[in-house]
């Protein structure tokens, strides 16, 4: 067991924070959100140059072989900067599935483009009725000639507006499978949706979209299990993003209350407010512990993975909401305005509580897994494989 960051990891953390601080301040983000595309292609190619887009992939796939810890460091910085570009959805979620399920050609083509910054795949899996039951999929794929015909309705495809290729899930002979569908495929309609956190998504409709036989991912694989594992990796990344936001809210609140003078002294000199900030700091620490557990659980056996990841999403959902509400309150009316980042962090945390499972969904999933006393009482330390 070792929970100290390596020197290389600390360098990555510092470089990620510095890059986004210089290139992605709150004003610039405001311009990106207000732009027609809602996306900054300059930032994306910078991230390709920095190696962020290659980070989680194995070296044999052109990646840098980074693990969940490296991703968590990037995500903390992404959270603080409130980046709206689809790092999580294209690189971690969709890219991760391509790496796990893709044929060699699919990996070369899609991952190659993703790493180079020219392709941004997006996962189109959840449907209206799916909720938190990832297997509840109604979309269908039927064999037709040499390929497949796919019909699906996939609302709120995150990163969908910036995608050139979708990983669409559909039932083939009853089993959930993934298919690569180009964004310009005939029969595919994509409608832009603006999201509560300033980012954009797509409502996708596929009406008998024809794809080649080579579009199928992982013919013999348990695709649903891989989709679940990919969501757990994404949820661990979200947990770290939330931790980055909570720290930013804490810093902003401390700075503001030290500066703002009322009744002849800084707000930070009032004990009633000091203790509330103390409670915020307690929650930030707890969230950090939870997120680290999630990060180090993504490769654990399934039950412990769920304990780590859904436990963190449940815990962080609750404490991050409280920290964000307190940050607004302690900023007074300024916290209520769109002129300061506080409200934007608040809204991003709110979006996260409703992404890849709600806080309550994760609490329920966690509660179900800890009904097994062996999981409940199991040490956080694991035996070596």
């Amino acid at each position: 067991m070792d929970l100290n960051y390596s020197d290389e990891q600390l360098l990555l953390k510092e470089s990620a924070e510095r890059f986004l601080k210089e290139r992605y301040d709150f004003e610039r983000r405001g311009k990106i959100i207000a732009s027609e595309t809602g996306f900054d292609s300059g930032i994306w190619s910078d991230m390709a140059d920095l190696g962020w887009l290659a980070l989680p992939f194995a070296e044999e796939n052109g990646g840098l072989g980074g693990g969940a810890v490296e991703i968590s460091l990037i995500m903390e910085a992404v959270g603080r900067a409130l980046m709206v570009e689809p790092y999580l959805t294209s690189v971690i979620l969709a890219g991760g599935l391509v790496e796990k399920l893709g044929s060699e050609e699919q990996r070369v083509e899609i991952l190659g483009g993703l790493i180079a910054g020219t392709s941004r795949p997006a996962l189109a899996h959840a449907e209206r009725q799916t909720g938190f039951d990832l297997g509840n999929i109604a979309a269908t794929a039927i064999r037709s000639g040499e390929g497949y015909l796919i019909s699906a309705e996939k609302p709120l495809v995150l990163g969908g507006q910036f995608a050139d290729v979708f990983l669409v899930s559909a039932r083939l002979d009853g089993a959930v499978k993934l298919f690569a569908v180009p964004a310009d495929a005939s029969g595919l309609t994509s409608t832009e949706v603006k999201l509560v956190d300033g980012s954009r998504a797509s409502d996708l409709v596929l009406d008998n979209v024809r794809v080649a036989a080579s579009a199928l991912f992982g013919a013999g694989a348990d695709t649903l299990a891989e989709i679940e594992a990919a969501h757990d990796r994404a949820n661990a990344a979200l947990a770290s993003e939330a931790v980055g936001i909570m720290d930013a809210l804490m810093d902003a609140t401390v700075a503001y209350t030290k500066e703002r003078v009322q009744f002849g002294k800084p707000l930070a000199a009032f004990q009633a407010l000091q203790h509330r900030m103390g409670e915020m700091a307690v929650k930030c620490q707890e969230a950090r512990g939870s997120a680290l557990l999630a990060t180090l659980s993504v490769d654990a056996p399934r039950s412990m993975r769920i304990r780590g990841v859904s436990g963190a999403r449940a815990k962080i959902g609750k404490v991050s909401r409280s920290v964000a509400q307190e940050a607004i309150q302690l900023h007074g009316a300024m916290g209520f305005s769109e002129e300061m980042p506080v409200g934007a962090w608040f809204r991003r945390l709110y979006a996260m509580e409703n992404t890849f499972g709600t806080t309550a969904d994760h609490l329920k999933r966690y509660g179900e897994i800890i009904r097994d006393p062996a999981v409940l009482s199991g040490s956080l330390l694991r035996e070596p494989v």
Binding site: M1, D2, L3, N4, Y5, S6, Q9, V69, M250, V254, T257, K258, A268, Q274, H275, M277, G278, E279, A281, V282, Q285, E286, A287, R288, G289, S290, L292, L293, L296, S297, A300, R307, G308, G311, A312, A314, K315, K318, L363, K364, Y366, G367, I370, R371, P373, L376, S377, S379, L380, L381, R382, E383, P384
Partner: protein
């Protein structure tokens, strides 16, 4: 960065497990289950201590040279988890965890040679003499005097909330030796033999119905100067060092997880109408929330431990966070357990210790002690620096 044990640590865990299996008897486990207090009654704790002493495992946190185990932090963590899962009596209190590190750090060779072995073999039981009726969180305002008279101090005053002082042979105490300068500078750390003439101990029953606290009065009690630790006026620095041990020097991950396991068992038992609390969504939501708190705290403890192992310091904010959260989690588990007793919660067993009563089923006994555990848990956020004091520490660090 990872959460993996080494192969040696797995072997170590198995060795600890086997030892507990063989030596931790059912009557000791039952006595601990029926103990609503933070620490075991010495009549129980000393029995277990004797078995541990034969194995050399009384003091996991002590260096080998003083008769400790010399274990790494990871081994101590594993040991603690195994002992808690097995339900060992909580014997490590003021003696092993508080005064011993002070003697090791500030004591002279004679003091180390005399006192440390007596702690290991159970000959001495120590009580803490910090708080006074007028000095709680504002500890430095303490008034108990120690006046130098030849080669003795003459001690007058009173200490309060001294846990298990009625069973203790000795007390370590903060006393005032000077009134000049800052109030912290006139404080001295001394060791008092509780059999000395002039010592009177008054029991204080706590709201859980148990006599664990005491008020101790000193009326011209003679203490040899050789029983002073460090120099005159050095007491405050020593006290702060000791409080670090009380606050940060232990793991609560093991005991909290064991408490969760206990309430899980209680909630899995059918109620008289056939329902189980574990199938009740309101109960399960609260239970799961608390379990996520336990995981988060456990992880913070491991991270702090990892930092210390690498030669660093966990830092003030994480340390105070853990003190606050440990207390809150214990309180919320105890509160939840007490909330599922139904009308039986009204029944109150006055006899102490509870393990002297005729044996019943394990679950009935869990139910019998649950109210008292809940009442006792309220002390968690008060002792060792109340949660308000911890928030002061955090705020000072944040806002400086």
């Amino acid at each position: 960065m990872d959460l993996l044990m080494t192969k040696d640590e797995v072997l170590f865990r198995d060795e600890v497990r086997a030892f507990l299996d063989a030596h931790l008897s059912e009557d000791l486990k039952r006595a601990e289950r029926l103990n609503p207090s933070f620490l075991a009654d010495p009549s129980v704790g000393l029995k277990w201590q004797a078995k541990l002493n034969d194995k050399g495992w009384v003091a996991p946190s002590w260096p080998k040279q003083y008769g400790g185990t010399g274990w790494t932090l990871a081994e101590r963590y594993i040991f603690d988890q195994e002992c808690e899962q097995a339900g060992e009596p909580h014997l490590r209190g003021a003696s092993i965890k508080m005064i011993a590190p002070v003697i090791m750090r500030y004591g002279n060779d004679a003091q180390k040679g005399f006192y440390l072995p007596r702690i290991l073999n159970g000959e001495d039981i120590w009580a803490q003499g910090y708080s006074e009726p007028g000095s709680g969180s504002d500890l430095a305002s303490l008034k108990t005097r120690a006046d130098l008279d030849g080669d003795h101090y003459i001690v007058n005053g009173s200490k309060i909330w001294s846990t298990l002082a009625h069973h203790a042979t000795r007390m370590f105490a903060l006393v005032r030796t000077a009134d000049t300068g800052k109030k912290q500078e006139g404080i001295t750390f001394i060791l008092i033999d509780l059999k000395s003439p002039g010592v009177i101990i008054r029991p204080i029953r706590s709201i859980c119905g148990t006599h664990e606290f005491n008020q101790v009065f000193f009326d011209d009690v003679k203490v040899p100067v050789s029983d002073r630790i460090g120099q005159e006026g050095e007491g405050w620095d020593i006290a702060k060092y000791l409080l670090e041990f009380e606050r940060g020097g232990a793991f609560a991950g093991g005991v909290l997880r064991a408490m969760l396991t206990r309430i899980h068992r209680l909630a899995s038992e059918p109620l008289p109408d056939g329902r189980k609390m574990i199938d009740d969504p309101l109960f399960m939501a609260r239970f799961a929330e608390i379990a996520t708190d336990v995981d988060a705290n456990d992880m913070l403890e491991l991270a702090a431990m990892s930092k210390v192992q690498a030669g660093g310091n966990p830092g003030a904010v994480p340390s105070s966070t853990m003190k606050i959260e440990r207390s809150r989690i214990r309180q919320s588990i105890a509160e939840l357990a007490a909330s599922i007793l139904g009308p039986d919660a009204l029944r109150w067993e006055e006899h102490r210790p509870l393990h002297e009563l005729p044996e019943e089923s394990e679950l009935n006994e869990e139910r019998k002690v649950a109210s008292a555990v809940y009442f006792n848990s309220r002390s968690q956020s008060i002792f060792g620096g109340s949660n308000e004091i911890q928030l002061e520490i955090i705020a000072k660090t944040l806002l400086r």
